[in-house]
Amino acid sequence: MGLIFKFVLKNISEKKSRTLLIILSILISSGLFFSSNAFAASISKMYDEMLRLSVGTSDIIVKATMKSPSQFFSLRYAQDCSDQTQYVIGTINESADYKPMINEQSVAINLEGITLEDLQTWNPISFSATYHLNSFVGNKIIISQNTASQYGLKAGDTLDLTINSNKQRFLICGIANPVGIFTDESKGLNAIVPKDVLGKLYSEEGKVNCAYVKVKKSADLPQVINSLSQAYNKYDVKEAFSPEQIASLTNQIITPFKLVVAIVTFMCMFIIYSSFKVIIAERLPVIGTLRSVGATRRTTNFILLLESALYGAIGGLLGCGVGIGLLYLMSSAISSGFAQGAGVSVQVNPLLLLSTLIFAFILCLFSSLLPIIQVLRIPVKDIVLNSVEKVKDKKLINVVLGLFFLTTSIVVPKFAFGKMAIVADTACLVISIAGIFLLVPYLISWFIKLTEGIYTLVFGNIGTLALKNLRDNKSMMTSLSLLIIGGASLLMVNTFCSSLTKQLMSIYVDYQKFDVLIEKMDNNVDKNLEHLLYSIDGVTGVYRYFEKDDIKITNKNGSIATIAGIDITKHLDYMRIDSNMNLTDELKQLESERSILLTYTLRDKFNLKIGDVLNLKMSEDKGPIPYTVIGFYNTAESFGDMALVSEKYFQEDTGGQYNARILVKTSKNPRDVENAIKNDYGQYHFSIETRQEEQAGILHQINPILSLLMGFLVLAMFIGLIGIFNNFIIGFISRRRSLGILRSVGMNKLQMMKMILIESATVGILGGITGVLAGILLANNMTYILQAISMRIVMQYSLSYMAASIIVSFAVAVIASVCPALKASQNSIIQSIKFE
């Protein structure tokens, strides 16, 4: 046992560069595996925190709607389910006007009326300064650090606010750190006052206008929502946020990373697989000797597997370390842009570390098992006598299988719908690569047959010889495979990143025909605002429509990210929609009956056709309502996860639970118009952004993520490059004798260099071109995978990326072969020939 272990250790330490390559492969793929999974957890936690900023620890929110008899209600009716709830906290949410200077514009401050104990249970905050905070009653106020510094306020100062037309003086008894509701004040200032103070000012003492409920067991959630909905049947009772929403948001960010990890893993498996083929060829004589002195097959297999397991263990352990490092890098990279406000927490989950180790083991064992099984098939006699015929890889079954894989991966995603789509599409992505790898040897022989004449014509006899050298050349095939997968993933990720950016930008350039967007308005403000806006100088058009997010389709087991209730006479003037149909009649039909226009993305996701009926859960209080599908269109918005219904039915069926959006066209600089609107109507709460601002904001958010994705890719390319270089060097070592023989029969150094250059340039260009084709195949597959998670990205292939891909492939192959070739030409001929 000890002896075997020693033997294996000696083997591992003997070939340093190969050991390094194998360990590096495992290290990088397991590192990426760990970091992408941990990153997904961080992102999901970040979304959770971001959504929780406004809803605290609660699970359910009760709020008034337009149909409610009063904005205020009593918490009394919530007591029915007090057994199942951990807390029911009521708040009064109102807005106040603050005039910092006599002559200055007033600003709106969002007041949260709540007791201090409730606040600390519901959405805890901490203080940077306090002043007599122990009894939080009467006209006291907690403001944010941001407010304090903006207006030069400190604890102990007073603050005059106009609330419900009453002027009130408040004592600042706390300056809150930017946590909880104070985390993000980019959309307006927040402050906290005692609940009773607001109750008195609105003459609604003892009542609240917002209730937050936390359940004891999350399993009880639906039941509690149900009983609360009954108790508050005129109010809006809803889940604080849905886990599905978080999962879907997280997925949209993480999926591209996971795809890169999948491809990198495949590439690493291939590197390990080809290394193990060489390892086993080397070990064969030793295995033969061991067998001849009585070692069992089990022992010899154990030796090989032990070697592989050791690589897996070392690579996996190092990979965990690298993964943790990467995770920190990734988190800090996005915390400035994307995760603004909510901190991205880095959590090293021990369970994930364990899975990473297991992943590394499986990866390594699986990749090495194939060559080991091939050895198992060899009769003992042949191993012992070392008379193993080189196994012929060229089998018809490989062509058939390769072509089958390729066709499957092209055809299947077109027909995969629903929940299985993501699994099927990802499987297709992997088998498309496998298919390409199976076909590589044929690719070379077809290429040789096709171009032999041309090569002789252009490069003379040396060209012919170079082509012949490519024939059945294992290391060239490995290099070619690596070049193909490298180029393909490079192209895929680049195309994805640029297409995503272009598409997001095209929303602003091609689809939106307005200049300023107003949303997140206070209840009931939108209708007034729509009319008031015309009075602003420079406003040439105003269009108000409605949106509701995350609407369940009860008869399809899924949901639509956004449904818009549109004014069919105005919508197309403000938003472009594309369709193969002329939609004029369909738009009219939206008005005359409950019908819906869906994007092609949703059509494919749910496998729909015109005439299908969707039961939509448009509001919490009502059951699903049937809408008939009457047509399909394309939009870049919401990644294509959208649908249109008419305003009329939308209003009716949602019962006032929706977001109004006001689109404004301007004849002046949108910035000026935006400021004018803020100045004149700042007392209403809304968020307003010009298109340029939002565009810049989006870029600021996605750029760090895309950079990270490119970073993942660079790591992958790095390992691929090392693999290719290593492979070319191995190829040269095994060809040293052949080259010596050629020299001995009169090939001069120049001819040799020319031959090697032609070979490597051929492999480089062939790899580049095939890589581009494979890249298109992968990107196409990726489109389907993204579609399955409701991201419709139209891949825009750029010729310059393709050209760059081919040039890089060419350069890598040439550089990787010229160095060993130059070295080989320095050897004395006879040394090369004697070399075995």
Partner: protein, 229 residues
């Protein structure tokens, strides 16, 4: 007499670590056109090393080698390579065929490297394959041939470009006696009919008998030269 190969004060040493081992010491030989010379000597005496030096496959430590009155060490790589494929034919003890090329392609190598059209040598190729008895095997790879067959392919390769001088390192060392005799007869015929200069290394006196002169090496020195005619 026309001297095709002349060496003067030829030395060859290998450094192994710190040790400097002299393999060939002060070799002075000359070989005339049309001669069939056998280099003999015990194993390890430097016979192969000498033959490699004569063929320009290795460089001497000092001394000069002239082939057709041209000093080898002053030739460019290009000129030397051209000489190797046009004027010299080398037959190695271990055949040294290129494994991924067919019999036909292996034989044609010197032609191809010379930039000549392989088609023009069709007849000559067939003639040679006929001569070595492998006409039906021309599309096989070396791996599919026996040792003797491979050696005959190597001889065909040495002859394809019709070189003046043939250098053969134990050409029949790995062959059975019957094939060995055939190969020796073949060489003798080429020597006589085409008046090619042949230098073979051998340690069997039987095969040395096919030649007309013997050079004996012992510990890297020429100890005796004899004319058998």
């Amino acid at each position: 007499m026309n001297q095709v190969i002349v060496t003067q004060n030829l030395f060859k040493a290998y450094t192994m670590g710190t040790l400097n081992v002299e393999i060939l010491k002060d070799i002075n030989i000359s070989i005339n056109k049309g001669e069939f010379v056998s280099i003999m000597g015990p194993s390890g005496s430097g016979k192969s090393t000498l033959l490699y030096l004569l063929g320009g496959l290795d460089r001497p430590t000092s001394g000069s080698i002239k082939i057709n009155d041209k000093e080898l060490s002053s030739m460019s790589d290009k000129a030397e390579s051209a000489m190797r494929r046009r004027d010299l034919g080398f037959v190695f003890q271990f055949y040294n065929l290129v494994p991924n090329l067919s019999v036909e392609e292996n034989v044609l190598l010197p032609i191809l490297l010379d930039g000549k059209k392989a088609k023009k040598y069709h007849e000559r190729l067939n003639e040679l394959l006929e001569l070595i008895g492998l006409a039906d095997r021309k599309n096989h790879t070396p791996r599919e041939l026996s040792g003797g067959q491979q050696q005959r392919v190597a001889i065909a390769r040495a002859l394809i470009n019709d070189p003046e001088i043939i250098l053969a390192d134990e050409p029949i060392g790995n062959l059975d006696s019957k094939t060995g005799i055939e190969v020796m007869k073949l060489l003798k015929r080429i020597n006589l009919e085409k008046s090619k200069t042949i230098i073979q290394v051998t340690h069997s006196s039987e095969s040395a008998e096919y030649g007309n002169r013997t050079i004996n090496l012992l510990d890297g020195r020429v100890c005796q030269q004899s004319n058998e005619e």
